[in-house]
């Protein structure tokens, strides 16, 4: 028997360059905020799941499970680090969800963190390249942006997607980030700004790419009994789905779609008994602008090949039928890799609680879409205000 699970507290740091804060400081801040927001005490918590992609390479720190429990003063609780590249946070959320749904625990903290600006950009790029296939992609010179550029070029070839349409994804993200005080880049940009930015891996330019970011985010999950007793406005996780595909991009059935997104998205809607039209707030994994376009296609919010056109026509602008990346997305809210999947859940929770400030939209149900690497791991969650 699967039990209902609610988010009863959220917390996150500002995303950005925190030169004065360590990985530990970021975890402490986000974790404490989430527990405070839930209005519970440490004694109520039974387990911790934390996502980080590359603390070993970026900070020389492994054994993150122990670091989190220690930092939050939660010893001797079981505390487990989850690594699934850029989907580390989303998978940590899913593990916490499954543990409560399966009846093992009643209250679990799920978090994510990454401290990326303590190393030179070249070293951060090498760490991020770890999400790709080291033997068969990176060895030959493929950077991480290059993989998404390969995806972009083929999408342009098959569907006529343009660089201006891709730029629109960044423009939408920056528009929303300008309304989010915790975003790394809280200011608008134009299509022209994107088109004139420096090439990184053609056709992707600097402003098509998500940045290096420091940040952490956390949520407190609880069983139905606990949530109803302790929380005035729980947000219910309606479903959770995760799928895998080949590690290297070139081995996939298609290079213009992420099959794991298609499957996880379909399963998430089916399990929640929701339709596309029910979802009005959606956080997608736009690590690169083309990824935003492919996400809306894979998740079924547009037909295949029409994602670029939809962004261009404003279909996903703030306040439309489905508002995408109200947080500012990976592009403009920032992408502290392990924290991103949790930040997405925080954003949708705030939206459903009516606490999203200037970027608030009218929403009954939401969805988050978190991708690892070039699509080898995808995790999708849906959320609602009713059980």
């Amino acid at each position: 028997m699967v039990r209902n699970v609610a988010i009863i507290g959220t917390g996150m740091t500002k995303f950005g360059e925190h030169w004065e804060k360590s990985l530990r400081d970021l975890i402490a801040e986000a974790g404490a905020k989430a527990v405070d927001d839930a209005g519970i005490s440490g004694k109520d918590i039974q387990a911790i799941y934390g996502g980080t992609m590359s603390a070993g390479r970026l900070n020389g720190q492994e054994h993150i499970g122990a670091l989190i429990a220690d930092t939050l003063g939660l010893n001797p609780l079981p505390s487990t680090r989850i690594e699934a590249a850029c989907a580390s946070g989303g998978v940590a959320l899913r593990e916490a969800y499954l543990m409560i749904a399966g009846g093992h625990y009643d209250v679990v903290v799920a978090g994510g963190a990454e401290k990326m600006t303590d190393v030179y950009t070249e070293q951060a790029s090498l760490a991020l390249g770890g999400a790709a296939d080291q033997e068969w992609e990176a060895f030959f010179g493929a950077t991480f942006p290059a993989l998404y550029a390969l995806l972009a070029r083929r999408h342009m070839y098959e569907y006529g997607t343009t660089e201006e349409q891709m730029a629109r994804v960044s423009v939408v993200n920056h528009h929303n980030a300008a309304l989010n005080p915790l975003a790394q880049y809280p200011y608008p940009i134009t299509v022209d700004d994107v088109m004139k930015s420096a090439p990184i891996a053609e056709p992707l330019k600097l402003l098509d790419c998500s940045p290096l970011t420091d940040g952490a985010a956390a949520v407190v999950l609880a069983s139905e009994d606990f949530a109803k007793k302790m929380c005035q406005e729980p947000v219910w996780i309606k479903s959770s789905a995760q799928a895998s595909d080949t590690l290297p991009l070139h081995d996939r059935r298609l290079v213009t779609a992420i099959d794991a997104s298609v499957l996880a998205g379909k399963q998430a809607l089916e399990r929640a008994k929701l339709k596309h039209k029910d979802i009005s707030v959606l956080e997608v994994h736009d690590c690169f602008s083309i990824a935003g376009i492919i996400a809306v296609e894979d998740l079924g919010f547009t037909r295949k090949g029409e994602g670029g056109k939809a962004f261009e026509e404003g279909v996903f602008d703030l306040g439309s039928d489905v508002s995408i990346n109200t947080s500012g997305g990976l592009k403009a809210c920032g992408h502290p890799v392990g924290a991103t999947g949790i930040k997405q859940a925080v954003e949708v929770t705030l939206q459903l609680q009516g606490k999203a400030g200037k970027r608030q939209v009218d929403a009954e149900y939401g969805m988050t879409h978190n991708v690892g690497g070039s699509g080898a791991t995808v995790v999708v969650h849906t959320y609602g205000r009713d059980v």
């Binding site: 070249e122 033997e135 030959f140 390969l150 972009a152 083929r154 990184i200 991009l249 070139h250 290079v255």
Partner: protein
């Protein structure tokens, strides 16, 4: 410059770094590069045998990389491609002996043996395949 004392790098033992040796499933005629030990389509019914690919194919997708990985700085900007081999498998490789602006999807190419990167000025040189235009 840090001096590395032990470099038993496994790639040097990979036959696929030097020639295009993959596998083929005799049951479904599926071709695999890099080689697979079992057929993902036929699974237990698969019959895997060694098969050297001809090394010819075409550009499936490509990108010009301006922000290179460490060890590739001297080559930038360089072109990375997903290559579709004539036998079917796809792989990721650098294109050489061609200007970025002359590359296009479906362009015929063939594998050549090249230096890939180096571990600093005094470090190990990495070798492997690149692809160049295959003029008919």
């Amino acid at each position: 410059m840090p001096h590395r004392k032990s470099l038993a790098l496994v790639w040097r033992r990979r036959e696929q770094r030097y020639k295009m040796v993959g596998t083929r499933c005799a049951t479904c005629d599926g071709h695999f590069f890099p080689p697979r030990g079992f057929c993902p389509n036929c699974r237990r019914k698969g019959r895997i045998e060694e098969k050297e690919m001809a090394g010819t194919g075409k550009v499936f997708s490509y990108t010009t990389v301006y922000a290179p990985l460490e060890g590739f700085e001297e080559l930038a900007p360089y072109v990375m491609a997903i290559v579709q081999l004539d036998e079917g498998p796809r792989l990721t490789a650098m294109l050489c002996d061609v200007e970025p602006e002359d590359v296009e999807i479906d362009m015929p190419i063939r594998a050549v043996f090249r230096k890939i990167s180096e571990d600093g000025k005094s470090g190990i040189i990495h070798y492997g395949y690149k692809f160049r235009p295959n003029k008919k």
